[in-house]
Symmetry: C2
Subunit: 259 residues, 2 copies
């Protein structure tokens, strides 16, 4: 990082996650991909700005992809690229981009080698080699059946272990900005007591964003204050003012180390 | 339930959840409100059809609310109605509906009684009595500061304990259809082996929806098959066919009891 990078205008590189899955919307399965991708994307300077959870319905997938791919720098989808009848994501992405879909020779080759015995390479498994025309493959180091990239849209599987593998296999192609630094102060006074001074600290530090998150800890109200910004010095200055303000309020502020 | 209800055309009553919170998008906090609301809504026949996670940015909240409130029967928002500077949801909802916002007398009264000592009823806490004009209050049995209802949009706090309290306090006003029944079969063969027969069972049972969810259990692939439908007899018929098909595939199917 040099001085001009530290002080010049910054473009925020944005991402949207589209979680495709009735099992998430029914409450049966709790999504784990959003926190993983949010944290990993931020490490390379890409900010997750929105997430949509949608059902396995083709029209909804098509409309959602077309709405978000123009608004965000990167779009990631999870879910719906397996071998069963409810795996409709690849077809929906092809439809969203107005392109055809058919077996991709490289994908067939990878799956043929992986399943080795032709009896194991069933027709449904072969279906996982169908890739929208013009897409490039995203490697799957866990179970081989690839994801794919179509312009700025990356289509991953839904199983978290596979999402993690696919992300680490493709992340080098993402061009990010500066990562958001995030530091946390916890205090023992409730929001209603600290809100005015907190607002004043926020007003004095417009280049950082201070979030206030109440919770109950051992039955007592507690507040976590998160200071976010891309410039370490500005974040530090906001942290210093925040600690001073909270100390005058007997709020026992302490910084929580990043885990 | 009578015969005409069981056989007549069914309107699906739909809901959308809008999670307002940078802390979810950053990956810091894992949302717990989606699974809770999905399951509770379904009990009263309301289907969660979409969820959007958006940042604490007024324009984004306004645009999102106006996009979804016309498309779904009910909209629920979580987050951003506390006493701090980053709590902007109430103002954003008022803006989305094109109405003013000011202190609600009933809300002030509840908070005045709750905080009793005027020194505790700070200006930021009083801010939580600001309610969009025309909205009705949603009771908060946990910490009193109310949520509110504006037409088909219900605005809740973000803390899960408060969301649960608010939901149970207001759910009697929701008019649902028939709950979706959901039954789960787990089997020991991977998707690629069962996909064809599974697709055939789905084709024979168009009034049920069969989802296939792969996972790793003790390092081995395993599949959960979820059969969903509103008619118990049709769900049972699909379950019976599914068990028979999986048994012929040596997939050791077993029904997983609802927990």
């Amino acid at each position: 990082m040099n001085d001009s990078a530290a002080t010049g205008p910054e473009k925020t590189v944005t991402a949207c996650l589209v979680i495709i899955g009735n099992e998430i919307l029914s409450g049966r399965t709790r999504d784990a991909n959003l926190p993983f991708l949010a944290i990993e994307l931020n490490k390379i300077g890409v900010r997750l700005m929105e997430c949509r959870v949608i059902p396995d319905v083709e029209d909804v997938i098509v409309d959602t992809i077309n709405a978000v791919r123009r608004r965000f720098d990167y779009v990631f989808t999870t879910g719906g690229i397996g071998p069963t009848h409810d795996d409709i994501t690849a077809d929906a992405i092809a439809k969203a981009f107005g392109v055809g879909i058919s077996e991709n020779a490289e994908a067939v080759d990878r799956l043929t080698r992986y399943y080795a015995d032709p009896a194991l390479f069933t027709a449904p498994r072969r279906r996982m080699a169908r890739i929208p025309h013009g897409a490039s493959l995203v490697d799957n180091p866990v179970s081989v059946a690839p994801g794919f990239r179509m312009e700025n849209v990356f289509t991953f599987a839904g199983v978290p272990m596979i999402v993690e593998g696919m992300f680490h296999a493709m992340k080098h192609v993402l061009v990010g900005g500066r990562p958001l630094i995030s530091r946390t102060i916890r205090c023992s006074q409730p929001e209603g007591f600290i809100a005015e001074k907190l607002g004043a600290v926020q007003d004095h530090h417009p280049d950082t964003e201070i979030g206030s998150y109440p919770a109950f800890r051992q039955g007592k109200p507690s507040v976590s204050l998160i200071v976010r910004g891309t410039d370490p010095a500005k974040v530090q200055a906001a942290i210093d003012d925040l600690l001073a303000a909270l100390t005058t309020l007997d709020a026992e502020p302490e910084e929580i180390p990043v885990t």
